[in-house]
Symmetry: D3
Subunit: 245 residues, 6 copies
């Protein structure tokens, strides 16, 4: 089985974290390409960054389709470009935010999300609403940590995330925690031990979902929402992305 995991920002450091998180859970026979976008934002913090991350992401999804990927993963917790990627791909496409929400829904009545910045809360809340899982989430919280500081030595990120988890458990009656950023993937196991509750991390969740969809032979529905793009001309820097007949 072959997975195409796309980090839709351009940070190679984050790609490494994602690749490691994926490797921890992947089946023995699964081969994984983990790759960042060739162009676009160096990190994704809010809807403006999201917008400029999508074309680079779609280029990587297209490469994966051509290479025969059995499933794709979008490794940004905002699920950046998810609908466009599904329209492009025949193989299933899993966003790490969606993956974490769906997985958490199978082990709790209500979970809480701890993400990086306050501006990401509305993006995540809107995704929960779209997926239908908003009632399963007690609250989306922000630890007030910029994405690129998450894994920097000497950063206070871990302590701030822990403090927010503690509040989610005490104030929101959360039964499990969903970590709201790909960059937090390396911390899930330690946080689960520290707080004694399940901690769901989207990269791992999405890898197992992608494997599962592929094992079932399921592909993205090509009727309705994710119908194949209609052939037409894109101009300028996007000419090469024009849908072909």
């Amino acid at each position: 089985m072959h997975l195409n995991i796309v980090n839709p920002n351009t940070s190679a450091a984050m790609t490494r974290i994602i690749a490691e998180a994926a490797a921890r859970v992947a089946r023995p026979g699964t081969t994984i390409r983990t790759v960042e976008s060739e162009f676009g934002p160096e990190s994704i913090e809010g809807p403006y960054d999201d917008a400029f991350a999508v074309p680079g992401l779609l280029a990587r999804i297209a490469e994966g389709e051509t290479a025969g990927a059995d499933a794709h993963v979008i490794a940004c917790f905002d699920d950046t470009g998810l609908d466009a990627a599904r329209a492009l791909a025949n193989a299933p496409v899993v966003g790490i935010g969606a993956a974490a929400f769906h997985m958490a829904s199978l082990i709790v009545h209500r979970f809480a999300v701890v993400t990086t910045l306050e501006r990401s809360i509305p993006v995540i809340e809107t995704n929960l609403l779209r997926y239908g899982l908003e009632r399963r989430c007690a609250r989306v919280r922000a630890a007030d940590v910029p994405v690129l500081e998450l894994n920097q030595p000497g950063s206070n990120a871990c302590a701030q995330i822990g403090a927010e988890i503690e509040r989610a458990l005490r104030e929101d009656a959360a039964e499990a925690i969903v970590l709201g950023c790909a960059g937090m993937a390396a911390s899930a196991a330690a946080l689960a031990r520290e707080f004694g509750v399940p901690v769901v991390e989207g990269v791992a969740a999405s890898v197992t979902l992608a494997e599962g969809l592929a094992a079932q032979g399921l592909t993205t529905a090509k009727r309705g929402a994710y119908a194949k793009p209609i052939p037409k001309t894109y101009s300028g820097v996007f000419a090469r992305f024009s849908p072909k007949p």
Copy 2:
């Protein structure tokens, strides 16, 4: 990895169908015990049958826990006894209805469910509402086929299910079909080919989700909804199920 799949009715024929569907998608290293309940209804059609299926199911879940199962599957599309099983188990518990809904949500905007009998529609609608996925389901339809006729030679079941799928595609704008009974598991691939849309079948969906949860090391949250049962005395035929300290 070891999975404990429980068919909560007493039909060994249906257990065989479930075991075959599970085997088709399971990872090479996964060992699976598929077993029906020792006592209870021979098939589950509506909430009265559901009620009497739960104790037998929980006995099998308890056996699986003792045997060290990494995850449990409840192989009835009603997700019979799901909350009780989660309260009992430390390992994650996946219902095949929930599994199918979550998996379908990853490949469509809206799916339709085709189940056996009209009386099961409210059960399924209520589950969709509880899980949060009611907006993702265009409609729950019944093919008017008793469960035990599904796989009988000479039955008209297949034609009736096909007719209902055809209506779901034409009238409900469904982008994929979810088959609403464990007994339909063997037909999923053929129906997908016939109608040219993804057909999601809950046994396969739940096996891959159970494997995925176990691969992530996730267990049922033991805080809140699924806290360990409080030790107390059950009397009569249920004495042996009394929660122990």
Copy 3:
């Protein structure tokens, strides 16, 4: 008019409390049988207990049907086994949780529920969602009191319930309180006086609803959700519960 009130646990002490609460509001001409389950859990605290309470409850519902009850009451605030009981019975079946929510909805914009243990909150929240009344409930709170301590001399239960009511009034803008356990029935009047707001207690609510449904000649709909169980064989200890043609 004849009512069949079933306490779905095996505690005769709780049956007495329920019978007294029922007697306080019943019409002069109403005869009431209040009875606990013959077998099952001694108290119901969470979904595992719920599951083992249902068969014993259904036995009592069946007895009531045979005896010509005009309506049935399920006297556990979780509304344990409500759908199964409705499928079994022709007479209407009222759960004390549902009864309290519906009654409270007629005298407030928003109420709060005060129940016993935290693990019961998700059960109650899910019921509110199923009934449609989740927006009418400001919050479900737990007083952290085991069910069987509620009426024990020297227990701190009353003070803890009062403290939680006080919080519901101050923090949740609740306009009335719903007591979330049959065992609290005896305290409703005193709490209403103490806090100066309506306090709705499910046993009284359900008795008057059951009387009302019977007075209108309404019976459980036998089309769709609560259709008569299909004749089939139940095996083992449940053989005697097999639906008959």
Copy 4:
């Protein structure tokens, strides 16, 4: 026990129908005053009529309070003036629409409403949404019969209502029918027999709910939504309605 039933239009003929429907279900000891408004619209068909029905209704509610009514009923299916009446009264106030919805919710998964005119559908849909019961209603249908023709000899009303019930059962999977106008009260029993499903009629439903609330000693919450009106001056024809200190 004393009930104050107000028909908020000025039609004495409709008051008689309401009084008869109330008498059929009331307890032996209940005394009932059924009275139409002294001024206002002769029938209520849509929101403009609703608006002019409220002051006359509130005058009758005030009379009932003064006379010591244990509960009030607003006998228009739109639940005209319900919030204002609750603000005015200490005794509980039940609208026949709300009463029918709540009662039907206790015997079905989904009901359908059959009302008179299309313009009443949005009013009823909005009430269902406010009460929280919109998911319990499969559809609100109009039989296209003016209110005052409902009980006229030679009218085609009965046939049209029957045709709409037939559609609700066939197309909406309704398990029971709610009759959406006080003027249909006399037909409920016959329609239930004709169609073989429960038919809920709001006058009977509200009388038993009003009796039930009174039997429990419940009164309208006076905190929040239904707080006592603040003393102030009303001018012109409404001077006499000015809230007193």
Copy 5:
């Protein structure tokens, strides 16, 4: 373009505040009639006042229709009588509450409302639900200020409103504030400066929406909810309001 702005209470002082707020945003060519009700409550605080404000309001709406108004505004934040006014009018009718909610929805993910008295919170919450914008509102808060004290010299109203805005920004993550009373119109600009967030005020919002609807040539739909009232006889003090053929 001609607008008919109706203050549905009888306070001329509040009419002046409304007229000034309207004048600040109206287009050069717009002529505006701002008028209070001739009879009814001197201020509107809760549903009882609402009920008695509607007939006087509808008289003013009818005058505006006759005078050829291009649009009507109901200048009470409860949107008192909105449905009745729409049934009466052909020109569009905008409530200042609805206007503020819709406008705020265009510049934020979530806003908070700060109104006068606690009893108005349920009215506003119910309106948000009816309009569909309840998820766009983080919370409705009350500053505990009677309406008629809002603009009195020496009143503490401003400080209390400011304190509540401060809480909405800190506790509710509100991105903008909606002022929940026509009487607060004069304070919007100063509060926006003080707190550095957009402050939406309903009178200004409704004037620009009314102008916009008229500029598009849009009128109230006369099919369904707002169909023309059916000719019939109103009696007593409302005789003059009887719908004419």
Copy 6:
């Protein structure tokens, strides 16, 4: 007042239609720049086109901000890039889809949308859900007309749109119609005359809303969802879009 209207595809023909629709409703003093994207898809049909339309759109929004626009309009019914544009801009940003939904909500209980292609239905449904207006929309329908054929001589587009409107009025009880594509702007008046119901067209709706927001001095909230993008490096073709400090 200065408006910046961006057609986020590259079709100059559609820009002309949009400019004419805007001119029909704009205030005398309003100056409008209507411009298509410099690069990207020639039409927007589904989420893949949406993704590649956003960068070109944002370039035009940035130009408008620099030029001092008082408000921006995104003239694609999908509201392509709305959140990103709001994060970028201080002036308010109105999408023509959102504008049409909000305006229609002020004149009906329920509207229907008629758009071009089936694949756009899920996009529009998701937007309605995000805005909160999903209950105000009876149904989103597709006329099965490619966007670029809408205004071609000899196309059957008008007839197909008319047929779908007719179905919306008959089957969905729609009280008004919302036209679901900027390219339909020129037809609104004729369709309103033909079908005798209000027909809301998004370009006109958004122009008047943009003017209204500007007249009130309202700007996009810069707290939470639409906070100013954080300065960082975008690489490749997007380097020039990097958020500046």
